[in-house]
């Protein structure tokens, strides 16, 4: 059995364990769930250590027959991109559980259900990044919606039921379009090479270009809803405003990455020609997302809405990096996914603590927090700086790589994209100024600073942001061979830099 499978099974077994625990012991349930996620993290780290960086092929592969009459397999395996995303997932889960210690108590159901949902979600998040069978990927991609739906609807705030519904319907619509494309691809495969869903085998199909374009769109729309690209983004701000901080982190930090990851793994790998055809359109959409997200972020009064719109802007960057079709761009985009995961996590968690202390999520209600709660304010500040890609923090590296990678092939979009950075400075600094500095807003004088548990939760995130800001090599080393492989397979060579004068 592959380590990946172990990684998937541990949280599931944890769910069984949760229901075996005695009733009425909420603290025990919380400790147990965190324990399970830490065990999973340890396994993931072991896996990362055993990962062969020089090898661009899939590693830790496992393949078993699942539904033989359609040639469907339980097939998993990871390359560098999948590895870093899985690592990010397994790091984030214990952190959000620890950070959101009390989130499960105001829900519609018991804390036990909350932790069970999160652990099931962890299994699926690992599975979705590791799946190398398109059908398996699709099943997890869709099934993942259910726990998130119940997490938003059952434990969220405000108009949570509506937000959950909107989220689910949007995703289902995209998913079903993708289903049509999956079926189409499968039928073509059956005619050419026999029933299979193996992603490597499928990438060798010969598809006529009209069909290929349609199939590409089926996949792409699903992914563009998931990693919201303008104009398919409207579910995200509602969901982010209603979900608990922990759910928001997992939703924006991990689940939405499935969209951008899917673009790399499926859209480009399976339909390279169609990807080429649609690249201009997608680049335009990415640029619109970057600017639109940034402008709306500037206008946001709700702190969670702000983070959601900054994410839309960042997803624009990620998509831009992917469809620049250069290996730097792709490495940058993959790195961006990880960094965005952590910086959003920091933002949502700190914002969540601010909101729960103040009882309001309107940015104007904060003010002067720097004096009252220095640790919380500093954490928010660093997270914000990471969101605006300040050099020295990890996001800078990825944003830089994305723009460089784009510039070598598409200079003008890269230049337009750069304005996104300026706007990012604007929305982050404005928010920091309004909420952290200036005179203390009445009502904020008695807010308490982060307690020990919260400090422990936020410390690793901040540490990761800083360490990989100065020293991104371990991650880029893992990513580079994989990005190169994807681009070579799709038939792209990196443009050679023109000789200087």
């Amino acid at each position: 059995m592959s380590l990946v499978t172990v990684l998937e099974l541990v949280p599931l077994l944890g769910v069984l364990g949760l229901f075996a625990l005695p009733k009425g012991s909420t603290t025990l349930i919380k400790q147990f769930a965190i324990g399970v996620s830490v065990v999973d993290l340890v396994i993931a780290i072991l896996m990362a250590l055993r990962f062969d960086r020089g090898n661009s092929a899939m590693q830790f592969v496992e393949s078993r027959n699942w539904i033989s009459s359609f040639g469907i397999k339980y097939a998993v395996g990871i390359d560098g991109i999948a590895l870093v995303l899985i690592l990010m997932t397994t790091v984030l889960v214990p952190i959000v559980l620890l950070a959101g210690w009390n989130e499960s108590e105001n829900g519609r159901w018991s804390p036990r259900v909350y932790y069970a949902l999160i652990l099931v979600l962890e299994t699926m998040m690992v599975g979705v990044f590791a799946a190398t069978d398109v059908f398996l990927f699709y099943v997890i991609f869709e099934a993942m919606l259910i726990p998130v739906y119940f997490l938003i609807g059952g434990y969220g705030r405000g108009e949570r039921a509506q937000a959950a519904m909107k989220f689910l319907l949007y995703s289902l619509l995209g998913g079903l379009l993708m289903l049509a494309a999956v079926i189409g691809t499968y039928v073509i495969a059956t005619n050419q090479i026999g029933s299979t869903f193996d992603v490597t085998a499928l990438s060798s199909l010969h598809i006529d270009s009209a069909t290929e374009n349609l199939l590409f769109l089926g996949f792409f729309i699903a992914f563009a809803i998931k990693a919201p690209l303008w104009p398919l983004h409207t579910w995200l701000p509602t969901a982010a405003k209603s979900a608990t901080p922990a759910t928001s982190v997992l939703l924006l930090g991990v689940l939405d990455k499935v969209g951008t990851y899917g673009m790399i793994r499926f859209c480009i790998a399976l339909f390279p020609h169609a990807a080429h055809t649609f690249t201009p359109a997608i680049i335009v959409l990415s640029l619109i997302s970057i600017l639109y997200g940034a402008f709306l972020a500037i206008g946001q009064r709700d702190i969670n809405g702000l983070i959601a719109f900054t994410s839309i802007s960042h997803f624009g960057f990620i998509t831009l990096g992917i469809f620049a079709m250069t290996s730097q761009g792709l490495t940058g985009a993959s790195l961006y996914m990880v960094n965005h995961g952590f910086s959003t996590a920091a933002l949502f968690l700190v914002a969540g603590w601010m909101v729960s202390r103040r009882g309001s999520s309107t940015i104007e209600d904060f003010g002067g927090l720097q004096r009252v709660t220095p640790v919380m304010a500093w954490s928010f500040f660093i997270a914000g700086m990471s969101a605006l890609a300040l050099p020295g923090l990890s996001s800078f590296v990825s944003e830089f790589l994305v723009l460089v990678g784009t510039f070598t092939r598409y200079p003008i979009p890269a230049i337009i994209g750069t304005t996104g950075i300026v706007l990012a400075a604007l929305y982050v600094l404005l928010t920091v100024q309004r909420s952290l500095h200036g005179p203390t807003t009445p009502g904020n004088e008695s807010l308490t600073d982060l307690n020990l548990r919260e400090k422990i939760a936020i410390a690793p995130v901040i540490a990761i942001l800083v360490i990989f800001g100065f020293f991104p090599k371990p991650i880029t080393d893992v990513l580079n061979p994989a990005s190169h492989e994807v681009m070579t397979h799709a038939g792209y060579e990196d443009p050679q830099p023109k000789a200087g004068k």
Partner: protein, 504 residues
């Protein structure tokens, strides 16, 4: 010398056994005391179905497959569908045996003194059991009948008991009787269409057998107009039974008015039998003329999916909602008719089996949600059920998710295999419309989930009754099948694959 026709009793045994069981049930009504009838009837009905299944099992590998002078074809599809109907009827009987659902005395005028007396005497119409068995025997014959006359006889045998059963509700009897009358009138109408179409087909081909019609079409024998009229009118009769638009208007009223266990039985078994016959007629008889009828069926399939999906959104009654959802599912199933290939057939068989279990289970859950005056089907009063009775609400949610085709439920694999079959023969349009309407249907299923789980219960007297042991078993079986076939569908898919053949 007169030679007696070869009937092949072994192949007909399952049908004959069910008929025999039904007759035995009628005898029981005549000779047994009122008090002991229910238990005896339940035993007879269940025993008959098990016995019939055993006999079906004995012939499932047999090679000689036509019986009763070629008017019955016991082939792969026939056996699979018969088996499915027998198993599902068994579960349906378990729901029906929870006899609180049926009129005390059907002949008493609703609200009359007679009725009150009958209720007080603890009377119960136990005729429901033989009626069910009669209907089942018709359902067993319908999908294997391979000539037009046998088809028509089977259609009537399965329909007539259903008309009666739809009117036997214990509560809201007027609604139930109205449903029965509507069903009867429209059903009789559609039977007439069926017969009319059969006459034209005979006029066209000079043959009553499906095989003969196919050869006549291939030989391009005669007047095409006769063929077209024949196909259209025969299809009207079939499409009425499976509840396809525009012949669907009876479905919501009848589903709502009929006693809930009967609704479940109709929704599952009738649809399977009718779909089985439709598949046979189109695959065996009409397939050489596919270019003539494909545009019609394509239009109807799309209309059925869209109308079923959109109209369901507006429903406030859970039974009506499921009725429209069953219409949408009929539209999905028509994709298999369009597919005209083995994988489409395999998909349809798998779909029918899983859909049957999910449907029966869902209607079974509805029988449990009650207030002092009987079942509560108004969705607004289901609000907050998840809090009062988490298990029931979760199981119902499972069925809804399966209807919606969410992965890891049987409904997803079913939809996948069905659409794959349709796509293979180039029916891209129906696949795309199918997935898009799936999104629409998901909306109203999920709205129910929101009501169950995300809304606070009103102070209302709605409760979930503690189900009898039989109902409990039946719901549990349906729920387990729905999950198992979603996670490990291989066994049933392979079986469907082996059985996906018609003989001519």
């Amino acid at each position: 010398m007169l030679i007696a026709p070869q009937l092949s009793y072994a192949l007909l045994a399952p049908i004959l056994i069910v008929l025999g069981g039904a007759l035995l049930g009628v005898l029981v009504e005549a000779v047994m005391k009122k008090g002991s009838r229910a238990a005896i009837q339940t035993t007879i009905a269940l025993g008959t179905l098990v016995l019939a299944f055993a006999f079906l099992w004995r012939i499932h590998g047999q090679t000689s497959k036509t019986a009763a002078v070629n008017s019955v074809a016991i082939d792969g599809v026939g056996i699979f569908i018969q088996g499915t109907i027998l198993i599902l009827s068994f579960i349906a009987i378990l729901f029906i045996a929870d006899t609180d659902n049926f009129a005390a005395q059907a002949s008493a005028v609703p609200g009359s003194e007679d009725e009150r007396a009958a209720v007080q005497a603890g009377k119960q119409q136990t005729e429901i059991f033989p009626l069910t068995l009669f209907a089942v025997s018709g359902m067993l014959l319908f999908p294997v009948a391979s000539d037009l006359i046998t088809l028509f006889v089977a259609l009537e045998v399965l329909s007539l008991p259903l008309y009666l059963m739809a009117g036997l509700s214990r509560r809201r009897r007027l609604l139930s009787q109205e449903a029965a009358l509507k069903y009867f009138l429209l059903g009789a109408f559609s039977s007439a269409f069926f017969l009319f179409g059969a006459a034209f087909l005979y006029g066209y081909s000079g043959s009553m057998t499906l095989d003969g019609i196919a050869s006549a079409i291939s030989a391009n024998a005669a007047n095409d107009v006769f063929l077209l009229i024949g196909i259209v009118f025969l299809s009207v009769g079939l499409l009425f039974k499976i509840g396809a638009v525009p012949f669907h208007s009876w479905t919501p009223d009848v589903y709502q008015g009929a006693p809930t266990p009967i609704t479940g039985f109709m929704a599952a078994c009738t649809k399977i039998a009718a779909m089985g016959a439709t598949l046979r007629i189109f695959y065996v008889a009409f397939s050489p003329a596919e270019w003539q009828w494909k545009p019609i069926i394509l239009t109807i399939a799309i209309l059925t999916m869209v109308v079923g999906g959109v109209a369901a959104i507006a429903q406030r009654d859970v039974k009506r909602m499921l009725a429209f959802s069953s219409i949408a599912h009929a539209g999905f199933l028509l994709a298999a008719v369009l597919a005209l290939n083995t994988s489409g057939l395999k998909g349809a068989l798998f779909y029918l089996a899983t859909y049957g279990f999910t449907t029966l289970g869902a209607f079974g859950v509805i029988t449990l949600v009650r207030d002092s005056s009987g079942e509560v089907t108004d969705l607004n009063r289901w609000v907050g059920l998840g809090k009062k009775s988490p298990l029931t609400a979760s199981i119902f949610t499972l069925f809804l998710l399966s209807f919606a085709g969410i992965p890891l439920t049987s409904g997803f694999i079913a939809k996948f295999s069905l659409f794959t079959g349709a796509y293979e023969t180039g029916n891209t349009v129906v696949v795309v419309v199918g997935v898009l309407t799936s999104a629409i249907t998901a909306f109203f299923y999920l709205r129910v989930v929101v009501m169950l789980f995300f809304t606070d219960p009103k102070s209302d007297s709605v409760t979930v009754v503690i189900p009898s042991i039989m109902t409990r078993i039946a719901i549990a079986v349906c729920a387990i099948v729905t999950i198992v076939l979603g996670v490990a569908p291989s066994l049933l898919l392979n079986t469907a694959q082996t059985f996906a053949t018609f003989i001519r």
